[in-house]
């Protein structure tokens, strides 16, 4: 069987960059799946994509399907012959196989014997198979928004212009989206506008590179990175490369050329974040900083052309950014003409959520919760109150209206300028932390109080109007808010009772329609996030369940138990103790033992049960202070030494003794053992 390279390329008008990667991967997957389903062998599948093309190269693709041995089953033997003569059924089956009855074979099965035939089916050629595979793969592309063009009913993300399908040097007769496949592709829109005839599928990357197209996404992205870094080096500055911006820019060009421009130094009086947002959001520029991290009045733009006169391109870009930065400067100057506090009344007319009132309502609620928290964590309630009042004021500044991602950052700048207490100003920015699971949490006590209060208010509010997340739908990002709450409490080492905080948050709402069980519902929802939280920490579902079995409402306490259980699970005694706990739990459940009875030492007769009783009593004394101090890891270490006494007990003692008193006493002993472990978690949930 011969092998060769397959090349498929779909040429289109500039595709939306946000959809490019998805489309490209789906195209490659679709082709791969098609080939696999057809049983054709190949070495590897590579996806290429630029704004004007989606391509797939398959290397060492076999030129045909392997021949297949197909087993056909005919009538049962009993029905195939009558008096030694073949019946009509047998003859008909033989005819359908194109043979005579004596060439058929017997198929033995558990249910009897049938007539059968082994047929050699020749594999189809790749030329015959590909048109359907290509049609299916292209037809199945997940286009986010389809369009039509011209007088055609064909739909795609953008108008398509050409289709290349080459197997080695042969054109495959594929058709898709109204295009017939050929060997003709096109290079860069301006550098190489003429048609290019590809002689062989292997020529693709080289032919395109000659025509000013870098088809390989990763290579293009890395080339941009190198260019940006080297441009920065020329300027003796450091380029700040945001990976998502880099990815976006790579999706906008076929032939990247980095160019450096500059802007007026006077704009540097405006906070750097504003300038960066403006350059990044509007123009997709990379910014540069000096050794101390200060913004330089320079930018790097990625053009899609090797210009004969790069200065013209640079000047054009400088001309565009000037009014943009001037806008940012204007917003900043305008915003600074009044204080942040003077905007508090404006929040009365901004709706937070229709049923939950305005931002002013939210600020009042948040303020009450934040003060409670500040009190509990040794912060200053007065500062928390002030921070909550001002928290959303920057949302009605010109700057944040234009660049929403600057929320908090602008609040910080403006509050500082207004002479608000340092901790209040900092808290305005910190309230949005953590933005993602691994992000920093607020440093200041006021920041922590505000960040917690804001999230708790949103959680009970949205639950209270019956809009809790369902399935994948989470429009108010309550999952992230919950994980944020957990992380602030855990990383901040704040041992607060979540139930108490949620009760306070609920009290602040006056007219919630769904208040029945609200606190418990939100509590359960937030504590359930520990499962996802634990995954980041290498905590298994069993470990999570072991702790979740306990009615813990302090997230920090919960996290300490999880970590203790995780450490415990690494111990060699873990599996045996999990099994023992499971066994105890089963026995106690079966006997409906209430666990309340005390062990009567005088009723203990066997050596092993006396010993176990002794060991439990000893351990209980030594772990009590550990439980009280939240030192669960040490506590479990101590309890792990019970393994031998427990094993001996089960080996040598018969729990279900005939004497009722003895039996009940042994059950009480087991219950006391179980209770000891349950002080931390239900160890019986762990793998045994």
């Amino acid at each position: 069987m011969a092998v060769n390279t397959l090349l498929l390329e779909l040429g289109a008008e500039e595709l939306p960059p946000s959809a490019l990667d998805t489309l490209s991967d789906a195209f490659a997957n679709g082709i791969q799946r098609g080939l696999e389903d057809a049983g054709v062998t190949f070495d590897n599948v590579t996806a290429y994509a630029t704004p004007r093309r989606l391509a797939v190269q398959v290397r060492e693709l076999a030129d045909k399907q392997p021949d297949r041995n197909v087993e056909r089953r005919g009538p049962a033997l009993a029905a195939a012959f009558k008096d030694g003569q073949p019946t009509k059924a047998a003859e008909g089956f033989a005819r359908s196989c194109g043979v005579t009855v004596d060439q058929l074979i017997h198929l033995e099965t558990d249910k009897g014997t049938w007539l059968g035939y082994h047929e050699q089916q020749a594999g189809e050629t790749i030329q015959a198979l590909l048109p359907e595979i290509v049609r299916k793969a292209i037809g199945g592309l997940p286009v986010p928004k389809n369009m039509r063009w011209g007088a055609s009913r064909v739909e795609f993300s953008r108008p398509v212009h050409w289709l290349v399908a080459l197997y080695g040097s042969d054109v495959i007769a594929a058709e898709a989206l109204g295009l017939e496949a050929s060997r003709t592709t096109f290079g860069h829109r301006f550098h190489a506008p003429d048609a290019i005839q590809l002689a062989h599928a292997d020529d693709y990357l080289v032919a395109l590179e000659d025509a000013y197209v870098l088809a390989d996404r990763d290579k293009r992205r890395e080339r941009i990175r190198e260019q940006v870094l080297s441009e920065a080096e020329v300027q003796e500055a450091t380029a700040v490369i945001d990976e998502s911006l880099l990815a976006e820019v790579s999706g906008l060009v076929e032939w990247p050329v980095a160019l450096t421009g500059s802007f007026d130094e006077r704009f540097l009086e405006v906070p750097a974040e504003c300038l960066i947002s403006s350059m990044k959001a509007n123009q997709k520029y990379f910014h540069l900083v000096d050794d101390s991290g200060q913004l330089k009045p320079l930018f790097i733009t990625i053009s899609n052309i090797e210009s004969q006169d790069p200065d013209q391109v640079i000047q054009g870009n400088e001309k565009v950014i000037r009014p943009r930065l001037a806008d940012a400067a204007f917003f900043y100057e305008t915003d600074r003409k009044r204080t942040l506090a003077s905007r508090i009344p404006m929040l009365e007319s901004v709706v937070f959520q229709q049923k939950l009132g305005t931002l002013a309502d939210k600020a009042r609620r948040t303020s009450a919760i934040a003060q409670l928290i500040a009190n509990q964590i040794g912060g200053d309630p007065a500062l928390a109150q002030r921070a909550a009042e001002l928290a959303k004021c920057d949302l009605v500044t010109e700057m944040v209206l234009e660049f929403p991602e600057l929320q908090g950052i602008m609040g910080h700048y403006y509050a500082k300028q207004d002479g608000e207490p340092h901790e209040v100003a900092t808290a305005l920015e910190e309230q949005y932390l953590p933005r993602f699971a691994a992000d920093d949490i607020p440093h200041t006590a006021t920041g922590k109080a505000l960040a917690l209060a804001d999230r708790l208010d949103t959680l009970v509010g949205i639950f209270g109007i019956g809009q809790r997340p369902t399935g994948a739908k989470d429009p108010f990002a309550l999952r992230r808010a919950s994980i944020g709450v957990l992380n602030i409490l855990i990383k901040g080492e704040l041992n607060l009772d979540l139930r108490e905080l949620l009760a306070c948050a609920t009290e602040q709402h006056r007219d919630l329609p769904k208040t029945d069980g609200l606190v418990e519902n939100v509590l359960t929802y937030v504590m359930d996030r520990f499962r996802a939280w634990g995954q980041e920490e290498g905590i298994s579902a069993e470990m999570y369940l072991a702790v979740r079995a306990r009615p813990i409402t302090k997230p920090l306490d919960f996290a300490r138990r999880l970590r203790a259980v995780k450490a415990f699970a690494q111990r060699e005694e873990a599996a045996a103790l999990a099994a023992a706990n499971k066994r105890v739990s089963n026995i106690l459940t079966k006997q409906s033992h209430d666990g309340g009875a005390q062990v009567d030492a005088s009723l203990l007769s066997e050596e092993a049960e006396k010993n176990l009783y002794h060991e439990i009593t000893n351990r209980r004394e030594s772990v009590a202070p550990l439980f009280a101090g939240g030192h669960y890891m040490e506590a479990l270490d101590t309890l792990a030494t019970l393994r031998q006494p427990i094993d001996d007990f089960f080996d040598q003692v018969m729990v279900m003794a005939d004497d009722t008193d003895v039996r009940n006493n042994r059950l009480a002993l087991l219950a006391s053992l179980q209770a000891l472990f349950l002080e931390v978690a239900d160890i019986s949930e762990l793998p045994q």
Partner: protein
Amino acid sequence: MHDIRFVEDNWESPTLGAWGLGWEIWLNGMEVTQFTYFQQAGGIECFPVTGELTYGIERIAMYLQDVDSVYDLVWTVAPDGTKVTYGDVYLQNEREQSTYNFEHADVEQLFKAFDHQEQECGKLLDAKLPLPAYEQVLKASHTFNLLDARHAISVTERQRFILRVRTMARNVAHSYYDSRKAEGFPMAPEALRRELLADQGDA
């Protein structure tokens, strides 16, 4: 020489029940024009699809003349060599019209005008005159913009006005479609014509 780029930018006008997909066209980082493939207008699918190239002719002129402000564009050069700028021609007009639109426009009359245009539109549609009715839609849409500039429409009212214009636009589009259909789509290619006439459910 120049870096010309097609940057995704889709267009939608809820008031006109119209939308399309396309691009901003950048020239060295500056948006100089937009290209849109229309998909729907007045709530009706566009078929065949029309393209729209909205030249920002002033922007291109600014680029060619290398000026930063539109008012510095040279409009023409008099025989004696003096330059007449875009500002000379339009600045006073721009100021006065802005002052009028933002400060003086008579809100009460504009509301009345809007109601009148809406009524006229309906009346003309009843009389099967979609083209004059269409002009009433344009007028109503403009009146809405003027009222909006005067901040005369509250946030909740705004939605209602948009819906009123959209209803007019939709009715006009359907009426025009029906009038062309009644004529048998005389300008359409034969195959398409037959297809559309056969498709009774389309309008």
